[in-house]
């Protein structure tokens, strides 16, 4: 018999807000000293009250709109109770009754073509802390840096049917959320985490099989391996009766390549959800909704198409730029100043890219001032700064976003001089210093002139128009 896999995903993404969801502690503690980003509120101490970080709701809405969701105009927070040492108040504030976004749709593309994945809901919630096990001392320590860092959980309908589709879906979520600048979505940093709900049924059947939930996958590759393992485990159980499938939560062990049932104690229980009386319902009025809607970026496909049709860029260049919203914004700003989309794209995809690579920065980390880049391009196009010096200026602009290309060029003597007198005297000196090259040139070896040309350029510190220098040099030699 042929089987099909039915998969639904629960994806947690850490929102890229500066502060935590209910207090003003910094939300960025990746790699920080344990318990250095905590206060009585995020440690769940008595007497502190949660105050909703508005930015979290902004980001929740943006995520919802990027995923074509309906936004609940009145969205509420609820308490989810369970005991675990990394949860200091013994409840997590989450959204159970009225999540910020519902009923979305995400289009994915795989080798089999395009497909829509329905989003059940997106809810906002606080993260828990971390337990650190010390094997030497046989003790466990608690780090509360991550408690109350804002998350969204994106719950899909069971519309996925293969590891390939899951990968495409996760990549699509990443792209869209990064485009809206609401989340980093880096599985290696733990800013994107994914639980897989999976069942198997005979192809064409409309009845769902027994569903298991898998946790603890730390990369997309691990997720794919887990799906493949779990699918064959289910089929094996159905076909060969190797085991009886039960609805349970399983932990993926990527080293052993197997999933294991978690102790029932870890998963059983009643979370006793109820509305958090300390957090008033959040009412999203038209003004707020419109503000967020208008702040959303174009989708990547729209940008790519527009760059080709409107700006006349090649498909390849458009595709490269559309990979990151940071590249797009920098490019568009540069274009708005220099007026040439082709020049702006060339600079982005050559010089800007190589600067990013040299600094080991991701595209999204680009903070270069696009308008300043446009000014720099204009200086080069107008023949006011030589290309080699322009690269030096760009380097300085990467180090300091406030650098003005024109001022920097002026200060460092990079401005091409219109002083033809100076050029003439340099040419005269250099020609006199290399009679052999002059003789070679005159005997027909045209390339011999390049040695003198190079020396002149060096003497002028690159601050001259190459074409003018060349013409003047040839004229002078010919006049001898």
């Amino acid at each position: 018999m042929r089987y099909e896999t039915v998969i639904g995903l629960e994806v947690h993404c850490e929102l890229a807000t500066d502060s935590k969801i209910f207090c003003s502690c910094s939300a960025h503690s990746y790699g920080a000293e344990p318990n250095s980003h905590v206060c009585p509120a995020c440690c769940g101490m008595p007497g502190m009250l949660p105050v909703v970080n508005k930015r979290v709701v902004d980001y929740g809405m943006k995520a919802g709109l990027m995923l074509n969701c309906h936004i609940n105009r009145v969205t509420t927070f609820d308490k989810k109770s369970y005991y675990y040492p990394d949860l200091p108040a013994a409840y997590q504030t989450t959204q159970w009754f009225a999540p910020v976004a519902v009923n979305g749709l995400v289009e994915i593309e795989t080798s089999k073509g395009k497909k829509n994945v329905r989003i059940k809901q997106i809810h906002m919630e606080e993260d828990a802390g971390k337990l650190v096990h010390d094997i030497r001392e046989d003790t466990t320590h608690v780090d509360f840096n991550r408690t109350s860092v804002p998350l969204i959980e994106i719950v899909s309908q069971p519309d996925l049917s293969s590891a390939e589709e899951v990968e495409a879906y996760l990549e699509r979520l990443k792209t869209l959320l990064r485009y809206a600048r609401v989340a980093e979505c880096e599985m290696a940093h733990g800013t994107m985490r994914c639980d897989v709900n999976l069942s198997v049924r005979p192809e064409g059947s409309d009845k769902l099989g027994v569903r298991t939930e898998m946790k603890n996958m730390n990369s997309i590759e691990a997720i794919k391996r887990a799906i493949e393992y779990e699918t064959s485990r289910h089929i094996d159980a159905i076909e060969n009766g190797t085991e009886v499938l039960v609805q349970e939560t399983r932990r993926w062990d990527d080293i052993k390549g197997k999933s294991y049932a978690m102790r029932s104690k870890e998963t059983a229980g009643d979370y006793r959800y109820f509305p958090d009386p300390n957090v008033m319902p959040v009412v999203i009025d038209d003004k707020w909704f419109d503000e967020i809607s208008e702040s959303l970026p174009e989708f990547p496909e729209v940008k790519r198409e527009r760059y080709m049709s409107e700006y006349g860029l090649s498909e390849y260049d458009s595709e490269q730029l559309a990979k990151s919203i940071a590249l797009c914004e920098c490019f568009e700003d540069a274009y708005s100043v220099c007026g040439s989309a082709k020049d702006a794209a060339n600079w982005m995809l050559s010089e800007v890219m190589s600067n990013l690579n040299a600094r080991q920065m991701t595209y999204d980390m680009l903070t270069l001032n696009g308008k300043a880049l446009g000014e720099l391009i204009t200086l080069v196009v107008d023949g006011k700064v030589g290309r080699a010096n322009a690269k030096k200026i760009l380097n300085a602009m990467f180090d300091d976003a406030s650098v003005s290309p024109a001022e920097y060029a002026e200060k460092n003597g990079f401005v091409i001089s219109n002083d033809t007198g100076l050029m003439d005297s340099v040419i005269k000196t250099m020609v006199a210093a290399d009679p052999k090259a002059v003789a070679d040139y005159k005997s027909g070896k045209e390339k011999a002139i390049m040695a003198i040309y190079g020396k002149c350029m060096k003497e002028l510190k690159g601050n001259c128009d190459p074409q003018t220098l060349r013409t003047k040099l040839i004229e002078y030699i010919n006049s001898l």
């Binding site: 009585p40 440690c43 769940g44 101490m45 008595p46 007497g47 502190m48 009250l49 949660p50 105050v51 909703v52 308490k79 109770s81 005991y83 040492p85 200091p88 108040a89 013994a90 409840y91 608690v142 009643d270 006793r272 959800y273 109820f274 509305p275 009386p277 300390n278 957090v279 008033m280």
Partner: protein, 394 residues
């Protein structure tokens, strides 16, 4: 009478009960669980009083998480005088040690204690005084309250502590908070017959005396029937217990507070710490509250209680169409003896009188041994009324 006593030269002295968090002294919420607990933060209301020149003269014990009858479950022991249970914070005011008591009204013990001491207390409209820095129990209804000798003392202190606080998400705007002190006047009062019926003759006599005093002051008082407000108690007990269960979950022996010595794994650490530290009333409330929130019971019990809360508020508002305030007892008798505490759960029935204002968040003023519940933001008018009417304490 005190868990901690402070010397203060301040002209105005405030005593705070052990639900009000302070950084320089123990706040145990009446519990073995938090015995010795010192907070990292201080109550916003207390900070405001201190800034206005009040000096903290002491901390007074409360019943375990302030849900009992009158402090009898306190880890510091019941406070009695001549065999009668007393509210320690009220007695600190009555004896003249303090001008005002800053307390958290969770389940009515504040109002019962005030009525029996013959003092005046005000439980302001929910949201007008910051709850920041108070031990959370039943967050949707508990209110920072004041006990004083005169209505004027209460009003003065209230004008200091009321106001918006960014640190409390349920805090209302400054404009609304201030309006509660200056709005309207009380001309007609409804006497809630259904509430008075079960009270003893002393309480009924207090009600009658108050009605007469009202009439002498030209304020109309009419008896009315009610079948809804009297139902507040059952709904409040559900909401309070559920929220309590959730709020005291944080006391698990891991981070602070009582930790058992008797454990070999995490489950035992949790279970034994809580079993050894919590008293019988609290354990019962936890189990009851937990049950009302279970998947099986949520819609049947908890959600229904939320609906009752709305219906009770509607019933009040209907009465407020005709009347400015509702008169009812604060307790069923004017003295509780230690014998009364043989019934461990008496606070779950005596709160018949205090639940209506707790569940709706409406302001309540206790004076002359009786209770006035007013429209939202009418506590200033209620205090003015008892100031005019009450002979006691003047």
């Amino acid at each position: 009478m005190y868990t901690v006593k402070f010397d203060t030269d301040a002209k105005l002295k405030v005593v705070a009960d052990s639900m009000i968090l302070t950084t320089d002294s123990e706040t145990n919420a009446g519990s073995k669980m938090l015995k010795g607990y010192k907070s990292l933060l201080e109550s916003e209301a207390l900070l405001k009083l201190k800034a206005a020149g009040y000096g903290l003269c002491g901390k007074t014990p409360v019943g375990e998480f302030a849900i009992d009858l009158l402090g009898e479950t306190s880890v510091d022991g019941a406070y009695t005088k001549d065999g009668a249970l007393m509210l320690a914070s009220a007695d600190a005011v009555k004896t003249g040690d303090a001008d005002i008591a800053l307390v958290l009204d969770v389940n009515g013990s504040v109002r019962r204690g005030t009525a029996q001491s013959g003092l005046i207390s005000v439980k302001p409209t929910y949201g007008t005084v910051s709850r920041y820095g108070t031990v959370p129990v039943a967050c949707s209804g508990e209110t920072v309250s004041l006990i004083g000798k005169t209505a004027e003392d209460c009003k003065n202190a209230l004008s200091v502590i009321s106001g918006h606080d960014d640190k409390d998400g349920t805090s209302l705007s400054d404009e609304l908070c201030k309006s509660a002190l200056s709005c309207g006047s009380v001309k007609r009062i409804a006497v809630l017959k259904s509430m008075t019926e079960g009270a003893d003759s002393c309480v009924k006599a207090k009600i009658d005396a108050f009605v007469n005093a009202l009439k002498e002051n030209g304020i109309e008082a009419c008896e009315i029937d009610d079948t809804v407000i009297v139902k507040s108690r059952a709904a409040w007990n559900i909401l309070m217990s559920a929220e309590l269960c959730n709020n005291v979950s944080r006391y698990d022996g891991v981070k602070y507070g009582y930790r058992t010595e008797n454990f070999t794994n995490l489950d035992e650490l949790y279970t034994n710490s809580r079993t050894e530290a919590f008293g019988q009333l609290l354990k019962t409330a936890i189990l009851f509250g937990s049950d009302t929130l279970s998947t099986e019971n949520y819609m049947k019990v908890y959600d229904k209680a939320l609906r009752v809360r709305r219906v009770v508020l509607e019933a009040f508002n209907k009465i407020f169409g005709e009347f400015d305030a509702v008169l009812m007892p604060a307790c069923s008798k004017m003295v509780y003896t230690e014998k009364d505490t043989e019934n461990k759960f008496l606070s779950y029935t005596e709160n018949l009188y205090t639940a209506p204002a707790s569940i709706t968040g409406l302001p309540a003023v206790v004076a002359c041994g009786v209770q006035l519940v007013g429209k939202a933001f009418s506590e200033g008018a209620l205090l003015d009324t008892v100031n005019a009417v009450c002979k006691e304490g003047k």
